[in-house]
C-alpha cells in the first residue's frame, strides 16, 4: 500500500521540534490538491525551508514518488534538532531528502540559484515581539515578529533567487501577515499568485498561497493556464487583491 502523505504515527518527535499541526496539514492538503499539476510539471529539485518534524517534505516525496520520477529533495531548518527529526521521519517512510541545518538557504544561495522547481514553506508566521524572533529551539518555528512578517520577508527574496523560471512556491500565511501586500510585492518581482487553500476560524484565516513566475502579457494567460489547469481562465484575470475577503483589507490595510 503506498501512502500519498506522511503518517502521523511514523513522524518523529522531539521536545524542541514543532509537531505537525493545522498549518502543516493545510500545506500538505494544498500540495495534494495540486498533485496532478505537480506531476505534469516534472520538477527536478524540490525544496522545503523550515522542515520541522519532516511531515511536509516527507509527504511531498511520497506524493510525487521517488523511484522513477527523477525528483530530488532538499530541506533545511535553522533548528538542528528539527533536521535530525526530519531525517528520522524520512527514513521511517522509506524516502530520502538531502538535509541541511542552516538559516533558510544559507550556503546554498550561490550555487542553487535558479535551480529549485518547487519550494514549500510553512514559515514562523505568528505575530510576536521582535526579540522572540531568531531565538533557538522550538520558538523559531512560530515567532514571526511584527505582523508575523519578519522571517517571511527574509525568505521571499531568497526564494526568488533560488526558484527556476518554472519555479513554484507554496507558502502558508495568516491574514495577520497581510497576504494581499505579500502578493503585490511578489507581483512586482514578476509572480502571479493564487490561494490554493483557505481555512478560517472566527478570529483568523490560514492561507496556502501558490506563487509562480509570469512573463510578458501575451504569454501570461497561456503560462497561467499551463501552470494551473484546474483554475478557470476568468479567475486569472481577477485582481490578486480581490481574492482576499474585503474584511481582511479593511482590518489590515494600515
Amino acid at each position: 500500500m503506498s501512502f500519498k502523505m506522511a503518517q502521523i504515527s511514523l513522524v518523529s518527535r522531539h521536545r524542541e521540534v514543532y509537531e505537525p499541526c493545522d498549518d502543516s496539514f493545510a500545506l500538505v492538503d494544498a500540495l495534494l490538491a495540486d498533485r496532478n499539476n505537480l506531476l505534469e510539471h516534472h520538477p527536478t529539485l524540490c525544496m522545503e525551508v523550515g522542515c520541522g518534524s519532516g511531515y511536509i517534505i516527507t509527504s511531498l516525496a511520497l506524493m510525487l514518488g521517488q523511484k522513477a520520477a527523477g525528483v530530488h529533495y532538499i530541506a533545511t531548518d535553522v533548528n538542528p534538532h528539527a533536521v535530525r527529526v526530519t531525517n528520522e521521519t524520512l527514513e521511517a517512510h522509506g524516502v530520502h531528502a538531502e538535509l541541511l541545518a542552516t538559516d533558510i538557504a544559507s550556503g546554498l544561495e550561490m550555487r542553487l540559484a535558479g535551480l529549485v522547481d518547487v519550494m514549500v514553506v510553512n514559515p514562523p508566521y505568528v505575530p510576536t515581539p521582535q526579540d522572540e524572533v531568531g531565538r533557538e529551539g522550538i520558538a523559531s518555528a512560530w515567532a514571526g515578529g511584527e505582523n508575523g512578517r519578519r522571517v517571511i520577508d527574509k525568505i521571499l527574496p531568497i526564494a526568488d533567487n533560488l526558484l527556476s523560471d518554472k519555479g513554484w512556491l507554496y507558502m502558508v500565511m495568516l491574514t495577520a501577515n497581510n497576504p494581499s501586500e505579500i502578493c503585490l510585492q511578489m507581483r512586482e518581482k514578476g509572480y502571479a499568485a493564487r490561494i490554493v487553500i483557505q481555512r478560517s476560524t472566527e478570529e483568523e484565516s490560514l492561507h496556502v498561497i501558490k506563487f509562480w513566475r509570469e512573463f510578458n502579457t501575451q504569454s501570461r494567460s497561456k503560462e497561467m493556464m499551463t501552470a494551473n489547469k484546474t483554475v478557470p481562465a476568468r479567475v486569472m484575470q481577477e485582481s490578486l487583491v480581490s481574492q482576499f475577503p474585503k474584511s481582511d483589507i479593511f482590518s489590515h490595510g494600515s
Partner: protein, 122 residues
C-alpha cells in the same frame, strides 16, 4: 550528504570571496544504491561544477570519474553509471566541510551538514 549537495554548497561566512568548493574531511562514507534516472542526470549535468565534483568523489574514495566531462559524455551508459554513482550513491555520513578561505569546519553528522553560523560570522 550526497556529492550533489556538496556541489551546491559554498561557504556562507561573511567576507569570504571564494567559498566554493568546500574541502571534505572524511570520517565515514556510506554507499546507498538508488535507481538511475537518465533524464535527471542529463538535467543536472550542466549545473555541476565538474572539477570540484570529481575531486570530491576522489576524496570519498571513488576515482572512476574523468577529470573533465562535456555533455557528449552523457551518451555513454558507462559514464552515466559512474556519474550517477558518484552524484547520488555516495554519502558522507560523518566528517566535515571546510571553508577553503578561513578553514572553518562545518561538521557533518548522520549525513547532515551543519552550516549554522555564529553571530560574528554572519
Amino acid at each position: 550528504m550526497r556529492l550533489l549537495t556538496h556541489n551546491m554548497l559554498s561557504s556562507n561566512i561573511k567576507g569570504v570571496a571564494n567559498g566554493f568548493p568546500l574541502r571534505i574531511e572524511v570520517e565515514k562514507v556510506v554507499e546507498k544504491k538508488v535507481d538511475l534516472n537518465a533524464d535527471f542526470l542529463r538535467n543536472i549535468f550542466p549545473k555541476i561544477e565538474w572539477k570540484a565534483f570529481a575531486e570530491a568523489a576522489r576524496t570519498l574514495g571513488y576515482a572512476e570519474l574523468p577529470e573533465d566531462a562535456d555533455s557528449s559524455f552523457l551518451d555513454s551508459d558507462d559514464f552515466l553509471d559512474k556519474f550517477h554513482h558518484a552524484l547520488l550513491e555516495l554519502h558522507l555520513e560523518e566528517g566535515a566541510l571546510i571553508c577553503p578561505e578561513t578553514g572553518r569546519r562545518f561538521p557533518v553528522n548522520k549525513g547532515i551538514p551543519n552550516m549554522l553560523l555564529h553571530e560574528d560570522e554572519v
